[in-house]
Symmetry: D2
Subunit: 348 residues, 4 copies
Amino acid sequence: MKQIGIIGASGFTGAELLRLAAAHPEYEVALATAATQAGVGIAALYPSLRPVYGDRAFTAFDAATDADRLSGLDLVFLGLPHGASQSIVPEIRGNVGHIVDLAADFRLDDPALYPQWYGDEHTAPALLDEFAFGLPELFRNKLGGAELIAAPGCYVTTASLTLAPLVAAGLIEPTGIVVDAASGVSGAGRNPKPTNSFTTVDENYTAYGLLNHRHTPEIEMAIRHHAGTDVQVLFTPHLAPMNRGILATCYARPAADVTTDTVMACLHEAYADEPFVTVITDSPSTKATLGSNSAHVTAMVDDRTGWVVAIGALDNLVKGASGQAVQCANLALGLDETMGLTTLGLYP
Amino acid sequence: MKQIGIIGASGFTGAELLRLAAAHPEYEVALATAATQAGVGIAALYPSLRPVYGDRAFTAFDAATDADRLSGLDLVFLGLPHGASQSIVPEIRGNVGHIVDLAADFRLDDPALYPQWYGDEHTAPALLDEFAFGLPELFRNKLGGAELIAAPGCYVTTASLTLAPLVAAGLIEPTGIVVDAASGVSGAGRNPKPTNSFTTVDENYTAYGLLNHRHTPEIEMAIRHHAGTDVQVLFTPHLAPMNRGILATCYARPAADVTTDTVMACLHEAYADEPFVTVITDSPSTKATLGSNSAHVTAMVDDRTGWVVAIGALDNLVKGASGQAVQCANLALGLDETMGLTTLGLYP
Amino acid sequence: MKQIGIIGASGFTGAELLRLAAAHPEYEVALATAATQAGVGIAALYPSLRPVYGDRAFTAFDAATDADRLSGLDLVFLGLPHGASQSIVPEIRGNVGHIVDLAADFRLDDPALYPQWYGDEHTAPALLDEFAFGLPELFRNKLGGAELIAAPGCYVTTASLTLAPLVAAGLIEPTGIVVDAASGVSGAGRNPKPTNSFTTVDENYTAYGLLNHRHTPEIEMAIRHHAGTDVQVLFTPHLAPMNRGILATCYARPAADVTTDTVMACLHEAYADEPFVTVITDSPSTKATLGSNSAHVTAMVDDRTGWVVAIGALDNLVKGASGQAVQCANLALGLDETMGLTTLGLYP
Amino acid sequence: MKQIGIIGASGFTGAELLRLAAAHPEYEVALATAATQAGVGIAALYPSLRPVYGDRAFTAFDAATDADRLSGLDLVFLGLPHGASQSIVPEIRGNVGHIVDLAADFRLDDPALYPQWYGDEHTAPALLDEFAFGLPELFRNKLGGAELIAAPGCYVTTASLTLAPLVAAGLIEPTGIVVDAASGVSGAGRNPKPTNSFTTVDENYTAYGLLNHRHTPEIEMAIRHHAGTDVQVLFTPHLAPMNRGILATCYARPAADVTTDTVMACLHEAYADEPFVTVITDSPSTKATLGSNSAHVTAMVDDRTGWVVAIGALDNLVKGASGQAVQCANLALGLDETMGLTTLGLYP
């Protein structure tokens, strides 16, 4: 059994890690920490976790003084708010074999992008190069046994899995791309806010983060690294009245004489051996992926207008966050990549 | 009091007409017919209507034999499935002062488009030129006192109100436009189908009608007629888990040196005197329009990618169907255009 | 036009009053105040209200110093958190013709009940006798021209309208009654909390306030005053994943030889002339009342077990709060009781 | 690996069996049949199942001629509409080692109850005594190695797990019990109907099956057999706008001098060793059980009114149907009872 720590276990990605770890045949959760929720029962926040975690509580963790508590752990997941990983990783690195960070801190490889999109200078820029980007289907060669992994966000995973093979194959123009996406509300996190109140969200559909959503440069970087060409994307997220799920409808201009057959063949070839990406001819739906680590993707060409349309869907908390983090952790630990993960969604 | 008939009153647009007519100070519903639901109590299908309609039932109506039952009516709304209006209008015309059709039959002015998008030849092509297109904010000059009005669909109203002023002002390219939209489930009608079952739709977000949705040519025509230039649109509708509401996020290339100020000024000027279109700087949301006849619109320019993004929202059954039909009917009947309609949505 | 003030206009009942007042032919909103939201735009919190209220902001109001700002107002609604009305009413009374309070402060006529159910002593117990209980269908004779009215809560209105005629007619035992009810989330107010977050509530059904919900004594009092006999109720509220709506399923033992015909006849007789209570034989549904001031009620007797089951439904923000407050205000002001209110729900 | 057949695999319980079987380490789905959906792709109906079942289709099955196709199967699940199992079981019995029926056909042991509650005479009454009632926590001693098992319905499982220990311990009166319950929409099955359309159910809460729901006698029988005393229940189901989940709030009169401590101690003792029943002091919620085979239960006594309130929650398609059927099948096959089942719900 691998001894696992989750630093920042009280948020949605942390709770999802607790759920997935309980079902994982080789993980034992040795540490589950929280900041404001330290001392609170896991089941008080997540009653769904009581059958396994009982009365266990989140514990406090101060990286400055508690790093040695990580000794003996095989791997630590970080489920912290943006900015916190930058200060913690330098403290704890060396005390634990592997770190999988679910935040944005170590995803972008260009430190100049942080102040531009996040407002603050990066405080540990030297570490950026050491982190592998945790999207196995596109960057698996960097992940086997990796010490430091930054798992990408949900929108980035969806858009990159959908578009990267088409850009890499030269089938679509890498600039002028539109990514129009919708997310369930869990993407907004656990803390109650006017924007994630039931009465705000229910029976509502609206765009947010217009023109400046922070995942934009990450989408561009992921596709660029995979395809080897500069990419420019306009990304428009929307909030849909559902708990989970991301669907990205992507529009690109053709870069060659493409047909629906061409683009579908490209996706089929790219994902033929991937257990967690299913290429379909039907329209992907978020519901088909609920609770699973699967992404469903398709693509087509509109003869009338020339647009290439590519669509991807996944569960933002599983393949878009904690499931993908487990997939990465399995690779880092030398386990079967699919261990503890399911491909089948909960339906209906 | 104007005597009003609703032929095809048992569907969602018919029921919404019954709701709006009950609140209208000058409408009296003299006739409410149905086909398969003839004889069924109005409140059996729509329990919300019982306080006004009590035990009243939908009545049968056969245009071939019952046209004289329309004598004495001031206006008839047609809330029929696509194709039915083509056969009924020639029969009943002349028996009633005004007809407002909520179906697609008489919206497109080019008969060649019907077989292309609907599969069948139009059976009354000579009438197409006689119908006014019932979108008052863009075509009011054709609607005052009009005998025959074809009210546009919900997606068309949303996309046209959002884009038409920008195309007309030469601010955006009229081709290469992407309209990415989401609709509530009531747009799929009252008849139960796998695609509108709760268990299919709830917690789901998915695209449908990919590349070939029938509203595409109607969007292009409405904007073309208003702006006087050929328009080409790729339209991708999605289904969101909510009862009502349409939001269209539209992407276009700039046709001039535009800024967010430019495009917003254009919308403000276009709609300065329109009671049912509110130009806002916030992101429009479907919920803000629930139950009202209001459309909320905004626009902006992304300096980084050059895209112009314009967004519109409305209630698909009110401004997108029955409310707009009442607005048109008021114009046809010489009443105040806003009579019986509200601009405020039900929130939360 | 009556000049209306809303003190505490930024919560859900306040916003609903703003919506209803805009549609009321005799109301002009002269004052709309808020505490923490003073200075915030009305449409910033409620984008649905922009078409009427534009850029108008909530204003501050300090009862100790601003009472004279109420001079010239015909009526003030109070939409404040529990406890606040007790301190404000003594300050402002005399500066305005009529006060309709939507909080719990002046509903119970026995001051001893406040510390028992709310934890605190009442600070203005002498005023309790002066307030009329704002449930017109049961206590209309106290409301015409009344200066001080305490409008009841949503659960109380539902349960009382459903049960009071049956108790008054001696058809059911007044003790041992079970009221099992479900509410939409707007009943929890506008402030974001873990319990009203979308991710907590969506796809969830749960009971809350078990055994000790504060509306219990109010239900008992309302029925007792109407029926003239002591009443004891066990009240169990549940939270259902919807914005609006209350449904109360009530269970009582028969007090006489009753049948379904008997109990239905009793309800029909009680509400024959009531525009806002519809007696139906079908099962009431919250959706049928959405956005309307209607309550739908039914009752039946189970021959097998002997239980009498009575069910009522309404919109918690309209007939359960602000609509009923307008109904009371109309009575207080000598207007037609139904003015500005609709009986038809928004459906689907 | 056990060879498993699912006759009637295209409904919701069948699809859930397909999902659970794919995750079960000892099940291989050798047969998945359907009637009207024979020949249709599994993933066409349930896109969530594509990653495992690919293009596999439901096959036809005629019990009269195809019974020998069951030879070699270890166990068959029947996921058929009510009435069908009565005719199939006599045909196929003997061709397969074990049958677990998810329909109501063989649940009630008294053939006289079928015409009373279902309208039709039972056509195989002699088999009723041979079926074990598939609720392991209450009747495990009949299930080990059993050939014929009738798994109970979702409401019955919820109400029985919540109430049976309290009746058995003599803590509550066995008559006069009220079971007020709410269910998600999947309980209404896959076939589209007006009552399970999104537009009917969303933002709605309503009671149905008033006084005469077919699960009533099954609840009474299950508790009676466990507790050894006659039981009478008034059962009122409601429909809540969510996909899955059952919550039963049960009201009973005390049969002894009980306190909340007494009734909680009774539940704790009854379920101390049960992996799939979690006794909690918080209010159970359907969401905490989503996708899991767990039931959450609690109980309390209201000192003011004397009522005992007991509440249970579970996922109607897992512990309320297919998960419990797998639990029973594991017992029948001599496997670990918990194999292939999870206790943790998907949350948020």
